[in-house]
């Protein structure tokens, strides 16, 4: 693709709306994901109001509660996190970090966004159909998901399934682009082993998305048929509300297998990009090379591969052959090894670093903390014998919020504070940023730490109210009220972030091309924000890995990837294992 062929689009519509430029598409993805994420945030606060102050908000009845749980969970996992990491960060960073002018198929890329938007709109439409959105839980387990008795079992569940299938189409179009661009469109000198870990994380996550979403696609199609055509894929013979149904002979367990064959990799689809982003933020803001780069790459690849053989740890209570339980518990615990390696490497990267406690750095440090806590409680849930008493309690809610809710969100915040100057040319306000960080970080501990205790008390999750649960001491209600207050504060605090995002576009301090002194390629563009085509007339040439910080004897405290200086601290470039 020659540079001359690239006509920069002129009119407002071609430039900002029907744009095929990966940078514009990335911003479109990000804004859409944040907006729909705000809906999920409001839903979570409404749920907390009901749990903390039962009956205070009279319009929340049991059915509404189920609907809020479901929509909150699904929006957060799929439409916010997945879309923001792959469609937002992936789109913006991949071409810039590998030294390409754009994604390899820009038109497909544009289509990916519009189909994603369509999926979001379909999902939002389900709030307005008779019966409201589905209340089946984000896992959508049949048979209950499509039977009367579960709220939204008509229009709601149908729109949810259609929206998911649409989302998968969008994610596939995007994912094919991301993977192909990383594999085939790197600039001269940019070997795979010189990619920033952010690209590695997004790259492996995109491959996983291409292999895991098919299972959700298939289960979604089959459930749609069960609902609309009356097939019995997932529906056994049963009596519902006093009536014998026409369904017979289907297997609800099959749905669980398909769902979790997608669902577990999904956890890592949002975790791996977060790993990558955090690695890069730590390295830049600690002015040190990432510790054990190759190990970090391999850990990402191995975690990605292993995560396809652990799915049934979500099904211990569904009942299974004890040997299977043993198998899935073992594979689950094996994943802890590469994951722990990553955590150690992050800590060793910080060791004796020159830490700049900027807002992005704070979020990256926060990520390590929440991720480590969430990972530790995962050990209890990964073992069959300790999982069974804890399953379906608030311990689980606390665990997955720490590990896949809060942690990726912190990485996203960190990433936004870090790359915002490249996107807009202006810095976000640091004071507001630090306020945002501390409230969010301490707030999430205030929310989720007590939930572990509630879970051990046996407080079940997905419950609208707790009458007649004598074994839960009345004091639990104080904790619940406390959690709710914390959740409301955290929720309101996100408005500070939104305000900062909007305000800084116009009033932010001008950032210059490379405010953090980062070495990776996206900071070496000739213009900030990068123009259409990214690199001006000539593509950059890469001579080193992206982590040459504080190189001894070098003139500057970092060497950009384009620098031709002979100095480096990359071990891979000069043989292996021979210590400097």
């Amino acid at each position: 693709m020659a540079y001359a062929e690239h006509h920069a689009p002129q009119s407002f519509w071609t430039k900002y709306v029907w744009s095929q430029d990966h940078k514009v598409i990335a911003v479109q993805y990000t804004i859409t994901a944040i907006l729909v994420g705000l809906v999920a945030l409001v839903l979570s606060d409404l749920m907390r109001m009901q749990i903390g102050f039962p009956g205070r908000l009279a319009f929340i009845d049991a059915n509404h509660y189920y609907q809020f749980v479901t929509m909150h969970g699904m929006i957060m996992v799929i439409y916010l996190l997945t879309a923001l990491f792959l469609g937002g960060f992936g789109n913006y960073l991949i071409p810039l970090m590998v030294g390409a002018r754009d994604m390899v198929f820009p038109f497909l890329n544009m289509l990916s966004y519009w189909v994603y938007l369509l999926a979001v709109l379909i999902l939002m439409a389900s709030f307005f159909v008779p019966g409201g959105p589905t209340g089946a839980g984000w896992t959508l387990y049949p048979p209950q998901a499509i039977l009367p008795g579960t709220p939204g079992s008509d229009g709601g569940i149908v729109l949810m399934l259609i929206s998911l299938v649409t989302f998968i189409v969008a994610a596939t179009m995007g994912g094919l682009n991301y993977v192909t661009t990383v594999l085939q469109a790197r600039t001269q000198g940019m070997t795979l082993m010189r990619l920033p870990l952010t690209v590695w994380g997004i790259f492996v996550a995109s491959i996983m998305a291409l292999l895991a979403f098919p299972a959700l696609f298939v289960s979604g199609v089959m459930m749609l048929f069960d609902k609309l055509l009356g097939t019995s894929f997932f529906m056994p013979a049963m009596v519902s509300m006093g009536q014998t149904l026409a369904y017979k002979g289907g297997s609800p367990i099959l749905f669980q297998h398909l769902f979790w064959f997608f669902g577990h990799p999904e956890v890592y689809i949002v975790a791996l990009p977060a790993f990558g982003i955090v690695s890069d933020l730590l390295s830049v803001h600690a002015r040190k090379n990432i510790f054990g780069y190759r190990m970090m790459v391999w850990a990402i690849v191995i975690i990605g591969a292993l995560s396809f053989v652990v799915w049934a740890h979500h099904m211990y209570v569904s009942g299974m052959n004890p040997y299977f339980g043993f198998f899935f518990a073992t594979t689950t615990l094996i994943i802890a090894v590469p994951t722990a390696i990553k955590v150690y490497n992050w800590l060793l990267t910080l060791w004796r670093g020159n830490l700049h406690l900027t807002t992005p750095m704070l979020f990256a440090l926060g990520f390590i903390s929440t991720f480590a806590i969430g990972g530790l409680t995962g050990l209890f849930l990964g073992n069959v014998s300790t999982d069974i008493p804890l399953s379906n309690t608030y311990f689980v809610v606390a665990h997955f919020h720490m590990v896949m809710g809060v942690s990726p969100i912190l990485a996203i915040f960190g990433g936004i504070y870090h790359w915002y100057p490249k996107v807009t040319g202006r810095l976000l306000n640091e004071t507001l940023g630090k306020l945002h960080f501390w409230v969010t970080f301490l707030g999430t501990y205030a929310i989720y730490f007590p939930m572990h205790y509630l879970g051990i008390l046996g407080m079940p999750r997905r419950y609208y109210a707790y009458p007649n649960y004598e074994f839960i001491p009345p004091s639990a209600q104080y904790l619940n009220a406390f959690i709710t207050v914390a959740a409301l504060i955290v929720g309101v605090c996100q408005l500070v972030f939104i305000y900062n995002l909007i305000r800084s576009v116009f009033n932010g301090q001008p950032a210059g091309p490379n405010p953090w002194g980062a070495a990776s390629l996206e900071w070496q563009t000739p213009h900030t924000p990068p123009q259409h085509g990214n690199w001006g007339p000539a593509l950059p040439q890469v001579h080193r890995w992206p982590y040459d910080y504080s190189v001894p004897e070098a003139d500057a405290d970092f060497l950009p990837q384009t620098s031709t200086s002979p100095l480096t601290i990359d071990e891979a470039t000069h043989g292996h294992g021979d210590k400097p």
């Binding site: 940019m190 019995s232 004897e553």
Partner: protein
């Protein structure tokens, strides 16, 4: 402490494999379109894999027996009931289409425009034949045997559901492939690729087509021979 960037010692063993793979610019020495088609087909493999695994689970979990394949799929010709005859012809047609497709790719390499286009049209024609025969088979099952996605007088209800869903999904792939082939063949005929001399697109379409054929072999084995 510091080291020279341009003094790489040649990696050996497993590391050399990694080094080869991770060389700069392109991991595979193929155009982007082809690489993307490969990755797409891998993803599609997982879709069909899930469908077929789902089918096997349904079949094994079903409390009602599955209809006998050599009876439901038999065709009465004259007075004889011949098992699997239609499906044998369908499979033969589809395999032949893979043959014509391979020849089209070969001609494209030799930049023989007319022949390439002709062979691609032939491939598409085979595809249309296949889909029509599938429509015939569906009609027979629905109208004559009374099989529906939600019910089946001959046994397990899931038989109809799985059959229509999976062969339908495959049939959609074939139909999409026909449209794809026709579009590319028309462009070839009009000389759209003369200027660049790059006929890769024919090979990419070929990849897709062969994949759809390959999937059929599995569907055939799982539905008609089990």
């Amino acid at each position: 402490m510091a080291h020279l960037t341009h003094s790489p010692s040649e990696p050996t063993g497993l590391r050399s494999l990694v080094a080869d793979w991770s060389a700069d610019r392109e991991a595979f020495k193929v155009p982007c379109g082809k690489a993307m088609m490969w990755i797409f087909l891998l993803s599609d493999t997982f879709i069909f894999g899930c469908f077929l695994t789902g089918y096997m689970t349904e079949r094994m979990a079903s409390p009602v027996p599955w209809p006998n394949a050599s009876e439901v799929f038999a065709l009465t010709i004259g007075n004889a009931k011949i098992p699997l005859i239609l499906i044998a012809i369908m499979t033969f047609v589809l395999i032949s289409s893979s043959g014509t497709m391979a020849m089209a790719v070969n001609c494209a390499y030799r930049k023989d425009r007319a022949k390439t286009a002709a062979l691609m049209f032939a491939t598409a024609a085979f595809g249309v034949m296949f889909v029509s025969m599938q429509a015939f088979e569906w009609t027979k099952l629905i109208v004559h045997e009374g099989i529906r996605p939600w019910g089946n007088p001959l046994g397990a209800a899931q038989f109809g559901a799985c059959f229509f869903m999976i062969t339908g999904f495959h049939g959609l792939h074939v139909s999409a492939g026909v449209i794809y082939l026709l579009t590319v063949a028309t462009k070839v005929l009009k000389g759209r690729y003369e200027e660049s001399g790059n006929y890769q697109i024919v090979e990419i379409a070929g990849l897709y087509w062969h994949f759809v054929d390959l999937v059929w072999v599995f569907i055939f084995a799982f539905f008609y021979l089990w």
